[in-house]
Symmetry: C2
Subunit: 744 residues, 2 copies
């Protein structure tokens, strides 16, 4: 017995987890004093440093165990930074700002040289392709990457010529809150006050709208179908090429471990930098929810409360017509045997649960409160008996929550289906008449890929009709705003287009030379993803050039992509869209993931949504993407279905931080990315991120606004440059070789 006892005790002594509880710790706890002295000294240094550097440096080195005199310099210069952001000084001090990882030796990339050459050529080719399509459609392309491509091609690139001129309207020490006008943008809607009618004619030719003057077709840029298909095939072949695959895979691995090293060496400095910034912290930096659907942007409790309130206030309002008979809200609920009291989140049953996992079909029906499509029609639609009044109200409640939070913003998706020509005007009327607007909110228009459904129901004769329904109104509103006054106003707050549907639906057709044109696409099969995307892109391109001519803002393509289904969706998006939502499948496609990294394509990820639908939280690739430097951000997708608290976006950040142990610096980087990839105006971004936010590297960063340390931004920038250098230099050597071969 005693023996057993001792065994037990002695064994238990070796176990050594550590932890205790928050009670006053003995005043003379050495570590407490140490920490206290360290922190006080850090503050001292950051304040007095300009006065007597040397003594403090020594003291500081004792406590922070920092290795070089350069560090003190750093503090000095950083303090100056706070005063001004002149690039020159920066470049100098960036040299010694933090611990860098450099690789030396002949072959620095870990693959046979020839493989490198082949891979580099293909990668560069791919980047040129994307650059071309971005330029053509007036969408943006990563500045740094563009610079390297330019050097390579020796001529200015498409994108550069269209680049927004950063006139920097914002002073370096401007407040972080943009001065919005008090006047409501929908206050007045006067056709006569709108820009004149250009009187152009419109006709859709093989799926793309053409614009005509009296005489002939207007020479806007029209993308070429054959060329697109050729380019797509190039990329298709490229992403399944074995050697290139393993090259990209190795590079991505390299990027991961390089980041790990960076964090190990610089985490403390990044933290110190964040602490040094007065006032700013994760709570008061701007975040944009770049992927969220209007019809489910409120959480379940909110929707429930709203329905109950409405049932109290508008009981006798005509809300529905059943078989020609008008029904009041009272009657509707009576037919369902429900009272306001009965309703609960459980009966509402709009929240995703274990049973929606891998069951999209079930998931979609979750959008019907109490499983009744009628309630969905009454409460979360823009076009119904009450002309979307209730939906407008609840959206405005969400908006005011965002405004209250002050630092949270969202880009809400609204639907256009392309079944009839008047959808746009109805939608715009809804927004304008109910004054649905907030400075914290921008709109994206999502187009569901449901042609097959409408076609089977004979609502459409061919695919071209759908395209016309979607785009003609936009052209009309652009050429002659007064003809669609509300739409003209509404469009000013629309960023661009989203393409949505179950990506995993099998695609029976391939998009190639032999595919029918939209006008002749009459069968009930649904066109493939790339087909949808291309024609949305093509029409948007023409539209953008027309709008640019008129000085209206242009649109971007930001589809759901790579959440599920075939990899090649990510190829189409790589060519045609400015950024994407989800991109989960990049984890299975190293070549594409590498290309998305090099082109710094924005990826709005929603781990909680994925977790409910088909990828368990801890398997989500977001932390991996982030470590490799892909341009990722956090978004909620559907708070109605996936979130519990009153602050869905904060909930999303909180869970990611806790589960993946993100540092405060990681969180702030994610938030900054979300603003960068969002559709908010250049001016607004200049306030939120700093007047130079368009500049490359840490010049473009203002820690006083973003709370992202320059160290982190420089690391990302330098790493990207090194990666691009590796690629482009390889290509140049390859070219040299071929030349030498040609003339011996």
């Amino acid at each position: 017995m005693r023996g057993a006892l001792h065994e037990l005790f002695s064994r238990s002594l070796v176990e050594s987890d550590m932890r205790s509880a928050p009670y006053e710790f003995p005043e003379d706890s050495p570590i407490e004093q140490l920490e206290e002295r360290r922190q006080r000294l850090e503050r001292q240094i950051s304040q007095d440093v300009k006065l007597e550097p040397d003594i403090l440096l020594r003291a500081k080195q004792d406590f922070l165990k920092i290795d070089s005199a350069a560090d003190l310099q750093l503090y000095k210069e950083q303090n100056e930074d706070l005063v001004d952001h002149l690039p020159k000084e920066r470049d100098v001090l960036l040299e010694r700002e933090f611990q860098r990882v450099t690789i030396s030796g002949e072959e620095t990339c870990g693959v046979p040289f020839t493989d490198l050459l082949d891979a580099a050529k293909s990668v560069v080719k791919a980047l040129f392709i994307r650059e071309k399509y971005m330029g053509l459609s007036l969408q943006s392309f990563c500045k740094t990457t563009a610079r390297f491509l330019e050097e390579l091609s020796g001529k200015p690139l498409e994108t550069r010529s269209y680049e927004e001129i950063p006139e920097t309207p914002v002073a370096a020490d401007a407040p972080v809150h943009p001065p919005f006008t008090d006047q409501h943008p929908y206050e007045t809607c006067l056709p006569e006050a709108m820009p004149a009618d250009l009187g152009f004619g419109l006709r859709m030719v093989s799926g793309v709208i053409h614009v005509y003057t009296k005489r002939d077709v207007l020479d806007l840029l029209y993308p070429d179908l054959q060329e697109f298909i050729a380019d797509m095939n190039v990329l298709m072949a490229l992403i399944i090429n074995g050697p290139i695959k393993s090259f990209c895979y190795r590079r991505l691995q390299y990027l991961s471990s390089k980041f790990q090293m960076h964090v190990l060496l610089n985490e403390m400095k990044e933290l110190a930098a964040q602490k040094k910034v007065p006032h700013r912290d994760f709570y008061n930096i701007r975040k944009v929810d770049t992927h969220i659907h209007a019809s489910s942007c409120m959480n379940q409790k909110h929707l429930l409360r709203f329905i109950k309130r409405t049932m109290k206030k508008h009981l006798d309002e005509i809300v529905h017509v059943e078989k020609g008979k008008e029904q009041t809200l009272k009657e509707v609920f009576e037919t369902m045997n429900l009272t306001a009291y009965d309703l609960s989140v459980d009966t509402l049953d709009v929240h995703a649960d274990r049973n929606t996992f891998h069951r999209f079909d079930k998931f979609n029906t979750k959008y019907n409160p109490i499983g009744e499509s009628i309630l969905r029609e009454i409460f979360i639609k823009t076009d119904n008996q009450v002309s979307g009044k209730y939906f407008a109200h609840i959206i405005k409640e969400v908006m005011s929550d965002l405004e209250e939070s002050k630092y949270q913003n969202a880009e809400l998706r609204l639907s256009i289906y392309g079944r009839s020509r008047d959808e746009w005007d109805k939608l715009a009327k809804w927004a304008v008449s109910h004054k649905v607007h907030s400075n914290n909110v921008r709109w994206l228009v999502q187009v569901p890929r449901l042609f097959d459904v409408y076609r089977t129901k004979k609502q459409l004769a061919n695919f071209q009709e759908m395209l016309e329904n979607i785009f003609l109104p936009l052209f009309e509103a652009t050429i002659h705003p007064a003809s669609h006054p509300e739409l003209h106003l509404f469009l000013e707050h629309v960023d661009g287009f989203d393409s949505v549907d179950d990506e995993s639906k099998p695609e029976h057709r391939i998009f190639n030379q032999d595919s029918p044109l939209p006008g002749t696409w009459v069968e009930e099969d649904n066109p493939p993803y790339s087909f949808y995307l291309y024609y949305m892109y093509a029409n948007m391109t023409v539209l953008n050039h027309l709008r640019r001519k008129r000085g209206f803002h242009t649109f971007v393509l930001r589809p759901h992509c790579g959440e599920a289904g075939p990899i090649h969706h990510l190829v189409s998006a790589f060519m045609l869209s400015e950024n994407i939502s989800h991109g989960l499948l990049l984890r299975k496609a190293p070549v594409l993931q590498y290309l998305y990294y090099l082109a710094q394509i924005g990826i709005a990820m929603s781990p909680l949504s994925n977790n409910s639908l088909f990828l368990s939280y801890h398997r989500n690739p977001l932390p991996e993407y982030l470590s490799r430097g892909l341009m990722v951000s956090l978004s909620t997708d559907d708070p109605l279905q996936f979130h519990f608290t009153k602050e869905p976006l904060m909930e999303e950040y909180s869970i990611a931080t806790q589960v993946w142990k993100l540092s405060s610096c990681d969180m702030c980087e994610l938030a900054r990315n979300s603003v960068l990839m969002s559709g908010f105006s250049h001016k607004v971004k200049s306030y939120w991120l700093g007047p130079n936010y368009l500049k490359e590297g840490s010049e473009g960063n203002d820690i006083r606004r973003t709370n992202v340390p320059d160290i982190r931004v420089s690391y990302r920038f330098e790493t990207l440059c090194q990666e691009l250098t590796l690629i482009t230099q390889a290509v140049q050597t390859a070219e040299l070789e071929t030349i030498q071969e040609e003339d011996p």
Copy 2:
């Protein structure tokens, strides 16, 4: 090229994740209609069922694919349940309420019969030991388990004799909100109005306070040290016994897989039951945060805002004395070179991060805002220059948040150190004078195990002094309330005692017969965990009997236990404490885990706290414990360090639900457990959980208040009974055998 293309497409076709986006789905989507009809029918049935059962049954079976006529019965009877909760009817219908898993065959437990006998004997012995100590100290013991033990021993048990008589003051259809008095309990503190002085004398004899009348010692129940040590040794030997280990391990495995089966078979019915309850859902059921520390119950943003506000309002208040010189808040911050504007969550630096993982020492210093112990002293202490005014304010803000949330409650820990005799009076004065009270909040008093520190600093002569400082004031306040008027009032809102410190600190001494008594414990070594716990238990026991005599409420022991360090901590707690916080290490001790299950000991777990300190979230054993039926609940521990949103408790639930894919039923069960194990009064619980909540099994459940389906409660109850039957029957057979052996 083409080949590659086709390969790609065909490959991509087979991949099949599912998902889409929230847009209006074609009206004639078959599944949508199906779901809609199903749901409508479910509601129909649950309402009209009493009228024409047969037709509906058939219809229902078609849609719900439900297997027996029993189900319709069920609906009927459940509806009657809502009217009354008479046990008889219940027992009947419980028979056919849900799909049960039953095991048949000779040996149903999967281990050799002899092993079963030995294991059963030891397990029963262990349970009797716990029952004895719970009874002795007037703490509660699981009713069901007690019943089985009674049958075995054939005589009434300690605990039963003390069992609170559930006079059920609450009507079955009473509202869920208890009628609290409007008058503030600290409004008036009149010594003359307090119960009379009993005039008893007090003296501590070998670590336990004895109460004397004029003549002799009062015969209250005093636990016996020798007996305790003997009992402890029995358990110690038991938990490292190989065969018993593997027996318990197998049973726990069995419980896990049984629960999985239960969920597979009944999930839908549990959900249906929840939907049928009007109004009630997870958001409006009671939750108690059973483990949270007052000094860190506000989140970091809240503390920051509070400090900034205070700096604006009370700039010139004397808050601190530095070397005899008084300092105003202004001066304090000046000496730190800080302004209100500068402060940010980053500078505050009170949040746990990657660097606190496995570094408790660092972690503890995190309680100092800006690493300055002085700020901690000013803002989160009850006893300082401003007599804890600021701390009182921020606590009251947290309280009002809880009251606003209506359904969230907390048991906050306050510290008593045992360094001086007046700590209790100071603490009580703080609470009473600042009126720190809320109906949503109860107090627990935590005693840090820091004797070694005080001893080294010569603040205490021996361990007995510490015990006297902790317990004498409580006895005085109980014998003669008017002598400690505030304390008398304050104690009415104290549930009991918590014991806290870093459990992994090595313990150099073992608690056994040879250990010195508290009076002679003079060396600077810290007494072991069990030593602390035993003497707190012993004194609390005497105190409880005294208080019971006076009609005052009694206290319970609810220590931090099994978060880290030696396993045997969990043995002491098993014997002496009503429930515990953490219990992580049960995952490494099958015997103890099985005992904690059979005794249904409450375990307040805080996965987010663990995640920041030493156990990654997805490795946390909570979901396993829950599936096996241990009495677990979710608590936040330290919102200041671990939480981001304004609703820490909801955040805790949300993350657990998302990461572990808990069902709504699981969540509600966790919430119900938290209320059951909390220290709120019998009356309050009767309102929150239902008037019969003390009854065993689903009789004790009222889904209209708890939103927990009877199915789940019955499953837990029946499973526990089967487990107890297995054990007790084995013991009985064993006894029979021995008898037969004795007389051949």
